[in-house]
């Protein structure tokens, strides 16, 4: 039996107009008209360059260009890409929040997304009233909500307070209730944006659990994430976006995620030297940072338990050797929680840099990081004066494989350091 097509996206493009000087108010438009009527130039376009840009169409930006793909029933599509690649815009267009400038989207059934948790909650209304209101906003009708009311209340664990106004709920309860309603929607096509769920590990975990649940029921899911592990695990197809276009679409999700990782490694390697969002005197600067193995060969992905080093290329622009360098690498997980600190001074390492470029390696014989994405901040000091400080100098992916020598790995929500541990029973 041929799989049934459920979603067809054809040549979708979305254009945004950049905030142009002088639009947006009636008084400006009237003023413009008054100047025009007297044969004077547009008062809000005094900079000639502005005019030129308009002629070139420079004041418009295509957030999506020529996006076409189909989805069959029961497929789980992972949508990945850098920030600003157009993932969120695509979701907005698919969920009908905004209209595409060009192209068409055809689908059967309902599209709903797990990102609007608690939308439209009114603090004065009781939990029960809010379930109905929120459910209706998400597209359910009264009977559907009534039929699922008990499940929703159970799921949220608010049975005791169901007739209490939501303003008396704790924020945790409100989120739980909102999620419970969204989770009991039964759309034919579900959109999950994990990127937007950042900051609440518990919530993210629930989203993913719900997704697994839904995909087992054979429903169609579009999953946006920065976490390549969850994408690899949950999706059977992948779509890589870049600059508002589809860079790659493939039935083998691994192909797509490794391409993404390769891309981001490449761009990270290019970027550090050019970055201007840094602090410090700059006589000693970080020029490059990458993940390498014990042979100083760059790695596409780090494996937990295996050797992993960061190679920092530092530029000393003094004509003489720079002594007393204090090098710090702050390790953060993808929720940007600090999980580790590598520090030359506290580990007793003396660093002197010759004039010109120097390579410094710091890392682990046994990479202690769990699976997931990690970020590094780098700081360089010399005699307690900041020479260079750069946030998110590198982000990379770590994969966990038999770190503890057994077939289990840490759960998906965990994104941190794997500790040596000892268990004593009895």
């Amino acid at each position: 039996m041929a799989a049934k097509k459920i979603l067809e996206v054809k040549n979708v493009a979305k254009q945004y107009r950049l905030g142009v000087v002088g639009t947006g108010t009636l008084s400006h438009d009237l003023n413009r008209w008054w100047y025009k009527a007297r044969g004077l130039p547009d008062p809000y376009l005094s900079i000639s360059q502005e005019n030129k840009r308009e002629e070139e169409g420079g004041e418009y930006v295509w957030a999506l260009r020529d996006i076409s793909f189909d989805m069959n029933e029961g497929e789980v599509l992972g949508i990945i890409g850098k920030n600003g690649a157009g993932k969120s815009t695509l979701l907005k267009v698919l969920s009908r929040i905004t209209h595409p400038t060009k192209g068409s989207i055809k689908y059967n059934g309902r599209i709903a997304s797990l990102l609007e948790v608690g939308t439209g909650f009114h603090p004065e209304l009781t939990g029960r009233e809010n379930i109905f209101l929120n459910g209706a906003i998400l597209g359910m009708n009264k009977q559907e909500i009534a039929a699922k009311l008990d499940d929703i209340v159970d799921f949220a664990g608010v049975a005791k307070y169901i007739d209490t106004p939501v303003k008396r709920y704790s924020s945790g309860m409100t989120v739980r209730l909102g999620f419970a309603v969204a989770a009991h929607l039964e759309p034919e096509i579900l959109i999950v944006d994990e990127v937007l769920a950042v900051g609440d590990a518990d919530f993210q975990q629930r989203c993913v659990a719900k997704m697994e649940d839904v995909s087992k029921q054979g429903r169609t899911i579009l999953f946006v994430s920065h976490n390549m592990n969850s994408v690899n695990q949950l999706c059977n197809r992948g779509l890589l976006m870049n600059n508002g276009t589809i860079e790659m679409m493939h039935d083998d999700i691994q192909e797509v995620t490794s391409r993404y990782l390769q891309d981001s490694l490449d761009s990270a390697r290019r970027n550090v030297a050019d970055r201007t969002d840094r602090e410090g005197l700059g006589f000693v600067k970080l020029m490059n940072i990458e993940v390498v193995d014990q042979n100083k060969e760059p790695m596409v992905m780090a494996l937990s338990g295996k050797p992993m080093f960061f190679r920092l290329t530092l530029m000393n622009s003094h004509p003489e050797t720079a002594t007393n360098i204090d090098l710090r690498v702050v390790l953060k997980n993808w929720r940007e929680e600090t999980i580790g600190f590598l520090h030359s001074k506290t580990s007793g390492q003396q660093i002197d840099l010759l004039p010109g470029e120097n390579d410094v390696l710091v890392g682990f014989e046994r990479n202690p990081l769990s699976k997931g994405r990690f970020v590094l901040d780098v700081g360089i000091r010399r005699s307690n004066i900041v020479e260079d400080k750069i946030q998110k100098a590198l982000d990379f992916e770590s994969f966990e494989e038999r770190y503890y020598g057994v077939d289990y790995s840490t759960p998906n929500w965990f994104n941190g350091v794997l500790l040596e541990q000892k268990w004593v029973i009895g």
């Binding site: 009636l26 189909d70 589809i246």
Partner: protein
């Protein structure tokens, strides 16, 4: 780009339940969808009602105090000091009837004109037929009208018992139609302004003034019968004139009731409604990008 396995081999007649595309010329097909969301409409109205009910005593009380204070002010300034005729009616009753029915129209219009702006967060997160919100406002405001109508009727009866120099006519049967016309007119103009404010934000400041101007162009502080021929055409061009005069004729048997005035109001409302729907439909698609 597209793997071969996903080009569906044989699909004779593709049937799609929903289509989103860039054709803006196509006639509006959203009514069926809006109908499917009728439970949401009811719940929005319910929300407004319940939150009104759950407020402190002063909340609903304010709905009573507001028209009464305005009536007193009008009675002193326009009735007393300026000595404007009230068609022989008790001043309080004359002003209160006008204010009660005018307030429903003006408040509905004002609140709806803020729809896109006030609900941008909600609209930016989830899709539902946008038209539901303005419609729910015009329905919710009926509760307020109901409360104020009760107060009006109490005062009406008090005056009627004292001196029955006036009385209801069979035109009272037209009252639902009159309220409906007001509702649709307020909704339509509100939708037009709401759509325009997504581009022209400072339009908001003009509305307050415009509403006030329109009020003085309506027979609220004066009866239509005293308007001189010079101004009569302007006053009659106001679609609210026919409605307010009909209201007064229905309750008191006093005023200028003409079917032609009413017909004009209805036609004006219909045209405004079509225009409002057209603009609203155009703006609702992408206003999230610009607001």
């Amino acid at each position: 780009m597209k793997p071969a396995t996903h080009t569906v081999d044989v699909q004779p007649e593709e049937h799609w339940e929903h289509t989103i595309d860039d054709s803006s010329t196509r006639a509006y097909k959203g009514w069926g969808e809006a109908f499917r969301y009728r439970d949401l409409l009811i719940l929005f109205v319910r929300r407004d009602f319940v939150t009104l009910y759950k407020q402190t005593v002063l909340g609903p009380l304010w709905y009573i105090i507001q028209p009464l204070l305005t009536t007193l002010t009008f009675a002193v300034i326009f009735g007393g000091i300026a000595g404007i005729s009230t068609d022989g009616l008790p001043k309080i009753l004359f002003y209160l009837s006008g204010i009660t029915f005018w307030t429903y129209f003006s408040e509905t219009l004002l609140k709806i004109s803020d729809t896109f702006y006030a609900n941008q967060k909600l609209f930016g997160k989830v899709y539902f037929p946008r038209i539901i919100l303005p419609v729910s406002i015009s329905i919710s405001n009926l509760f307020k009208l109901g409360i104020q109508l009760v107060i009006f009727l109490i005062i009406y009866v008090i005056y009627y018992v004292q001196s029955p120099s006036f009385g209801p006519t069979w035109h009272l049967a037209l009252l639902p139609l009159l309220v409906l016309v007001e509702a649709v007119l307020g909704l339509s103009i509100g939708m037009i302004i709401s759509s325009l404010t997504t581009k022209y934000r400072d339009l908001k400041f003009l509305i307050q003034f415009g509403i006030q101007l329109l009020m003085y162009a309506s027979p609220i502080v004066y009866p239509l019968s005293t308007v001189s021929d010079r101004f009569k055409l302007i006053i009659l061009a106001n679609p609210m004139t026919g409605i307010l005069e009909a209201v007064k004729y229905a309750f008191f048997g006093i005023g200028v009731f003409e079917w032609s005035y009413l017909l004009y109001s209805v036609c004006f409302t219909l045209v405004t409604f079509l225009l409002g729907m057209w603009i609203f439909k155009r703006v609702e698609k992408t206003f999230v990008d610009t607001i």
